[in-house]
């Protein structure tokens, strides 16, 4: 026993957790402060405080210096509009979607026992997109897809599409010996191609309105953020973010292998099914609300694992935090780097993620992969 080693890894974990907890509010605040219109930090903070206590101060006339406050309110009404109505929902959506992508990536990698398994690489994201496009195509005439029920419907479609994709890839790539990386990535390519062509066919046959809807949604990204989307993301996202960490121990045992996990008393088959469905739901929701955002589910769990090791009890929650931070920062970059033009946030994450993925592939022998 090396008490020093134990100490070191423990403090390492503590440092990473505290850093993540500190970085999340900072990146959230940056996302509110930066944009096409530059708003000073103090004004952002003021407006943010407003949005929290705004209703109280508006209704309650108990404040003595009422006129003073009113003038201040008038001065900052434009700031309030930008921060509260545009940037705040967008930042909230980015944080929730990022957290979902991070935790779903970590779960997928544990489930496949493979650090290269990212939802966007193994076809889940494409499957979810196809599912959402199908929903728009067939249900678009029934409901206006902008409202809550419409968004919910598209989310369910994305969830079903993602589930089918992940089940197909998993059953193609996994046998009793475990999951083959090569087969998994190839199956991912096949599913992505299949799902992509399905979406294209729908666009081809759809009338102008449906075509417009699908392509608008496809470009989607976080710029469509609204409090409605935030509400859906918050409800489903928090369910997934709460349930997934309950599988930490099971995922830890699954890394040993499926039969080993079974010998440790786990009902592997049902755990696998539940995890697949939760991941598909998480990815499906994020695709439905924010479009395709690649690589967050790959980069974040991998970085966190390098820092604190593969113990899912810590890996899952910190991956969620890390995903939220990365997506907030990426979106802030996407909005500001060539302002006033906005880059799609998926572009920024891909530019960050692709080189990272290539470096992982080059060092794949370190993960015992061929």
């Amino acid at each position: 026993m090396h008490p020093l080693g134990q100490q070191q890894s423990f403090s390492n974990r503590t440092i990473v957790i505290s850093c993540a907890c500190a970085l999340l509010p900072i990146s959230f605040f940056l996302a509110l402060a930066f944009g096409t219109v530059s708003i000073s930090f103090s004004d952002t903070l003021w407006s943010l405080l407003h949005s929290v206590v705004g209703s109280e101060s508006a209704s309650g006339s108990s404040l003595g210096s009422g006129t003073d406050l009113a003038s201040r309110l008038k001065l900052t009404s434009r700031t309030d509009l930008i921060v509260q109505q545009i940037r705040l929902p967008r930042a909230l959506l980015a944080a929730i979607v990022g957290a979902l992508l991070g935790i779903c990536g970590a779960t997928t990698q544990g489930l496949f026992r493979n650090p290269l398994a990212d939802p966007s690489l193994i076809g889940v994201t494409a499957g979810a997109s196809a599912g959402a496009a199908l929903t728009i195509f067939f249900a678009g005439s029934l409901t206006s897809l902008s409202g809550l029920p419409g968004l919910g419907l598209v989310s369910i479609g994305a969830f079903i599409g993602g589930s089918i994709a992940v089940i197909l890839v998993y059953s193609l790539a996994t046998n009793t010996q475990g999951t083959s990386v090569a087969t998994m990535l190839l199956a991912g390519i096949a599913i992505t191609a299949l799902a992509g062509s399905l979406t294209n066919i729908l666009e081809f046959f759809g009338d102008e309105q449906i075509l417009r809807r699908i392509s608008l949604w496809r470009m989607g990204g976080l710029d469509g953020a609204s409090y409605q989307r935030v509400a859906i993301a918050a409800v489903f996202g928090s369910i997934i973010l709460v349930i997934l960490p309950r599988f930490s121990t099971a995922l830890n045992a699954l890394l040993l292998g499926e039969s080993e996990a079974r010998h440790l008393g786990l009902s592997v088959q049902s755990i696998k099914i539940k995890l697949v469905l939760l991941v598909a739901a998480g990815v499906g929701i994020s695709v439905a609300l924010a479009g395709t955002i690649a690589f967050i589910g790959l980069i974040i769990p991998h970085m966190i694992r390098l820092l604190i090791g593969p113990d899912h009890r810590y890996l899952l929650p910190i991956s969620a935090l890390g995903g939220a931070i990365l997506l907030l920062l990426s979106d802030t970059i996407a909005r500001t780097i060539v302002s006033p033009i906005e880059l799609p946030v998926g572009l920024v994450t891909a530019i960050l993620g692709a080189p990272f993925f290539i470096s992982l592939l080059r060092r794949r022998h370190e993960f015992g992969m061929r």
Partner: protein, 267 residues
């Protein structure tokens, strides 16, 4: 008073043939019977592909079989069963950078003995397998033999205490546990297995080293082409004739100078 802990009665295991059109089933294990008492070590010997690992997997509950495999006092619930039966697979696929102590700690998942007691057991199991100095190293950086000792420490930690096992039933299944080990650690492992047996654990292990089996096992089961060639005490099973049938080699059987166990001297 001996307690028959594991009873295998006419167990057969078939898998569907590889060819799609041929409905033929290939028989991996054909009507094999044997039994192991609590506190006994059974060695399964035989040539490659004789069905040794398949039989072990069937005992572990991983594959379907006909016939009956009875573990005395075994729990219904999977979590409780995991406190009774530990399995070391032939090949470990773990390729995530766990620390060694974490890998061994996974063995305590089915237990509710508390964090502190679990940590103690992990440290004791590490010491038993002579890997306490590797405790904080990453599993992925270890050599084959070191990995094997970590996995062994893990299965030992899973059934460490008699009190944790419902009905006091403890069964240890090892598939080629000595495969990657050097001579010194082979002896260390066999000593640890004997120690567990002394405390009432029934051990079934697949071994290729006949002399290790002869020296440390109480009984042997010899499988030849999916069928039982011999089952009984070491002296009954490890004979010149049986070795000739099993491996098609002529050997000389001598007696161990200290332990009276048979020693197989090859060509």
């Amino acid at each position: 008073m001996t307690r028959r802990l594991l009873d295998i009665d006419k167990v057969s295991i078939r898998v569907r043939g590889a060819g799609k059109k041929s409905r033929s089933h290939s028989v991996l294990v054909n009507s094999v019977s044997c039994h192991v008492n609590a506190g006994e070590v059974l060695a399964i010997i035989g040539a490659n592909g004789a069905g040794k690992s398949t039989l072990l997997n069937a005992i572990a509950g991983d594959i379907a079989f006909t016939g009956s495999i009875t573990i005395d006092g075994v729990a219904e619930q999977a979590k409780l069963r995991a406190r009774q039966v530990a399995v070391l697979p032939q090949l470990s696929l773990l390729n995530f950078p766990y620390r060694v102590s974490e890998v061994v700690g996974l063995a305590r998942i089915p237990h509710d003995s508390g964090r502190q007691r679990d940590d103690e057991i992990v440290q004791e199991a590490l010491t038993l397998m002579d890997i306490s100095y590797l405790s904080e190293r990453l599993y992925t950086e270890l050599s084959g033999g070191e990995k094997q000792r970590v996995q062994l420490a893990r299965v030992f930690a899973q059934i460490w205490q008699q009190d944790d096992a419902p009905n006091g039933t403890r069964l240890l299944l090892l598939d080629e546990p000595t495969a990657a080990l050097d001579l010194g650690h082979q002896k260390l492992l066999m000593g640890a297995i004997r120690e567990l047996a002394k405390h009432g654990v029934a051990v079934v292990m697949v071994l290729h080293d006949i002399n290790l089996a002869a020296r440390y096992a109480d009984k042997a089961l010899a499988l030849l082409c999916s069928e039982r060639l011999a089952f009984g005490t070491i002296e009954q099973v490890i004979t010149r004739q049986n070795i000739k049938s099993l491996f098609d080699v002529d050997v000389h059987i001598a007696q161990h100078p200290e332990h009276n166990s048979p020693v197989v001297i090859g060509l």
